[in-house]
């Protein structure tokens, strides 16, 4: 008899997400199964509405992604010359100035990563919804990357805030944050929440249903 991967869910057990108390799920009990008898936290064997919530947040992030890239993110005034810069125009500016590393950092952190995250999340969501069994391990790895990398997108916002705080030379030079920065921050934050609300165990649930022996009552 080969060892069967057993999950708490298949054993009608629920682990409390807060105090890790293992609770037995009563048959016929509604989903979600209720509250932890020890700490009172809501019990759920999987993140509740994980897919729906993630979709919602991903869609919201996509909505915000457009103005974040179209609207100017900074307004640089130097010697009376006003220059409004979007993220992309900033990258192009640095490329023209020959500052390749900075351009690369901004590009990766501000354009590539948020987009990549959203795409990965959508891929995962679609794969879970379709019950695709393709390489669950790799997909889990992708999810981990998403989680790990997400917060780095805030670098751009930090740069802007630091510049705004530092460069206050009146008419000589002045930097102001513009609406684009707010939308970009919203994209980053919402994407982080989206990644958080996705339950990677869903990737494996499909596999489990395959592994589960069809036991007849």
């Amino acid at each position: 008899m080969r060892p069967v991967a057993r999950t708490a869910k298949s054993q009608s057990l629920v682990s409390c997400g807060v105090c890790h108390l293992l609770v037995r799920k009563l048959p016929g009990s509604p989903e979600p199964p209720g509250r932890c008898p020890r700490c009172g936290a809501a019990l759920h064997s999987r993140k509740p509405d994980s897919i729906a919530r993630t979709w919602a947040l991903v869609i919201a992030a996509l909505f915000f992604y457009v103005p974040a890239n179209v609207l100017p993110i900074t307004k640089v005034t130097s010697l009376g010359v006003v220059q409004l810069d979007t993220i992309l125009s900033g990258v192009i500016y640095f490329i023209h100035s020959g500052m390749w590393p900075i351009a690369l950092v901004i590009f990766i952190a501000s354009i590539f990563v948020p987009l990549l995250k959203l795409l990965i999340l959508m891929l995962l969501l679609v794969s879970v919804q379709r019950g695709i069994r393709w390489r669950p391990k790799d997909r889990t790895r992708l999810y981990r990357i998403t989680e790990a990398i997400g917060r780095w997108s805030m670098v751009d916002i930090f740069v802007v805030t630091i510049l705004v705080a530092l460069v206050h030379l009146g008419a000589l030079a002045n930097i102001e944050a513009q609406a684009g920065a707010a939308f970009f921050a919203a994209v980053v934050v919402i994407t982080i929440f989206a990644a958080m609300s996705f339950d990677p165990r869903l990737i494996w649930d499909v596999k489990e249903s395959d592994d589960e022996p069809q036991h007849t009552p």
């Binding site: 054993q11 048959p27 919201a60 909505f63 915000f64 609207l71």
Partner: protein, 558 residues
């Protein structure tokens, strides 16, 4: 405990969850994309609703313009931005595509004008210095409302007159452009009140029409009898009062300018000029503006044989020192048959310069009058107006002693007889004098004189003269002797005689005095004589009445 599901042995003693009833609706998390959708939708709506017209402007050059950066401003308020700059197909122009704000659509029309504001330095003004740092921008003059168009021809130079400047345009006709240019200032009493907006060649090519713009409230000072003149450069006047420099301003010296005013001598300011009143004449300078304009010109020919050096077209023709006309032209004629040179000078006389008193003088009749004047001895003469400059002028004067002639006529023009110049006259007189002097037999006179002198010398050195002198001295000596004799002998006798005569005279004077005995006696004798005369008269009367008494004696009463 559900019997259907046998509990797992490990899980059998696990605690059960607390069940709470409660229906779950749609997850609240969907509010997030909803909010995002709303915000995004609002942004899109705003972008679309605020999207103004997209226009294209063509310029000759895109100097200073940058796609995505150059602003379009109206009175320094941003109303748009240049999106892209492309070349036209024929490469003659650049096409600037610009996105304007929504509000701009209201005032865009076919009359709108666009120009690039750059730093411009021209004589008289420096503009657009702010663009040195901020970069060039495109300025707009909305213009009058009109047809809506989306393509504009950009101006290369800022327009002189913009829509929001209130004022009026006037047309000035000039013979030549001079140093005036578009943008040249217009002055009224040295205040800049407007600018030259445009100029164009008259259709028939006979002059230049300037369009000047005069800002409010100054058009009121343009009267019907206002005169405009070109105030360019320095007006130097050299007259009896010294040097006068008239200039409107330093700027007008550099870039030219127009000035206008009501010239005092043409009467008080008339009513304000009607803008449809047609055009004003632009005089070349103030002096010309102060001169009367004359409509009637009568041309006459003068013939001079002597040099007319110093005479120039425009030189005055004066009668008794008052200008009555000017010299139009002159040339040199050579008579092939007679082998002589002649200089015909064409003069124009403006009879309107002469005020007729006691009746209306028809200027057209002045030629007839001139005939009469010539018969009375009117002649033309070249005179030097200024010894310093050597300028000559034509003087008309009456010379009653001149032989009478008639007004000639050559082709189209009557000709006034001329007299040689005063210098010429002096010259001829001098010549005559010199000729007479030359005719004098100076050698003869000299030789005669010499002979005379020699003769005199001979006479003085002659021995006869010496003898004569000697005998003369002897005679003189004798006379001296005689006089001495007279002094010593004759003189005392004469004095004695004189003394006696004096005594006699004194005696006679004494006897003639009124209280002298002689006088008294004479008086008595005269009284006696008077008494005897009365007695005689009585006797005569008596004898007259009684002549017989001589015979019969005195009768007693009968």
């Amino acid at each position: 405990m559900n019997p259907n599901t046998p509990p797992e042995p490990e899980a059998a003693d696990l605690p059960e969850p607390v069940i709470r009833s409660g229906k779950r609706s749609v997850s609240i998390v969907w509010l997030v994309p909803l909010a995002a959708l709303l915000i995004g939708g609002w942004l899109i709506y705003k972008a679309i609703s605020e999207k103004g017209p997209e226009i294209t402007i063509s310029f000759k050059t895109a100097e200073g313009l940058e796609a995505g950066k150059t602003k379009i401003k109206c009175r320094d308020v941003e109303i748009g931005q240049v999106q892209e700059i492309t070349l036209s197909r024929d490469l003659n122009q650049v096409i600037v595509k610009a996105q304007l704000i929504k509000e701009a659509a209201a005032f865009l029309s076919e009359n709108s004008r666009f120009w690039v504001v750059r730093a411009r330095v021209s004589a008289g003004s420096v503009t657009g210095l702010s663009t040195v740092f901020s970069g060039a921008y495109i300025d707009i003059d909305p213009g009058a409302p009109g047809k809506k168009v989306l393509h504009f021809e950009g101006l290369e130079e800022p327009p002189i007159v913009t829509t929001w400047e209130k004022g009026r345009h006037f047309d000035l006709l000039a013979e030549r452009k001079g140093s005036l240019d578009v943008g040249s200032p217009v002055y009224y009493r040295q205040i800049e009140v407007g600018r030259v907006a445009a100029y164009s060649l008259a259709p028939d090519g006979t002059g230049i029409t300037f369009k000047v713009f005069i800002k409010d409230p100054y058009p009121a000072f343009v009267r019907q009898n206002t005169r405009f003149w070109n105030a360019s450069g320095i007006d130097l006047k050299l007259d009896a009062r010294g040097i006068q420099v008239n200039t409107e301003s330093f700027v007008s010296m550099l870039v030219g300018g127009v000035a206008f005013d009501v010239i005092e001598k043409f009467g008080p300011p008339a009513a304000a000029a009607d803008p449809e009143a047609g055009s004003f004449r632009l005089f070349p300078d103030r002096q010309a503006a102060e001169e009367e304009t004359y409509t009637v010109q009568n041309y006459y020919l003068l013939h001079f044989t002597s040099s007319v050096r110093g005479l120039s077209p425009g030189a005055p023709v004066e009668f008794r020192g008052v200008q009555v006309g000017h010299v139009v032209d002159f040339r040199l004629d050579f008579d092939v048959n007679r082998n002589t040179f002649d200089i015909p000078v064409l003069i124009a006389i403006q009879p309107e310069r002469i005020h007729a008193i006691g009746g209306e003088d028809q200027p057209r009749q002045s030629v007839k009058r001139m005939e009469a004047f010539v018969e009375k001895g009117l002649r033309a003469q070249l005179r030097s107006g200024s010894i310093v400059t050597g300028q000559q002028y034509v003087a008309l004067e009456f010379f009653p002693d001149e032989p009478p002639t008639k007004l000639g006529r050559e082709g189209r023009y009557p000709s006034i007889p001329t007299l040689p110049t005063q210098f010429e006259e002096i010259g001829t007189k001098l010549n005559r004098l010199i000729a007479k002097l030359e005719d004098l037999p100076i050698d003869q006179i000299g030789s005669d004189l010499r002979d005379a002198v020699q003769g005199a010398k001979r006479i003085t050195n002659a021995p006869e003269l010496m003898d004569a002198v000697k005998s003369l001295t002897a005679a003189v000596n004798e006379i001296q002797g005689l006089t001495a004799e007279l002094r010593t002998q004759t003189a005392p006798e004469i004095t004695a005689a004189l003394q006696q005569a004096q005594a006699a005279l004194a005696a006679s004077a004494a006897s003639l005095q009124s209280d002298s005995p002689l006088q008294i006696r004479m008086k008595i004798a005269l009284e006696e004589l008077a008494a005897s005369a009365r007695a005689l008269r009585v006797l005569a009367d008596f004898l007259e009445r009684q002549p017989g008494s001589l015979l019969r004696g005195k009768e007693t009463n009968q």
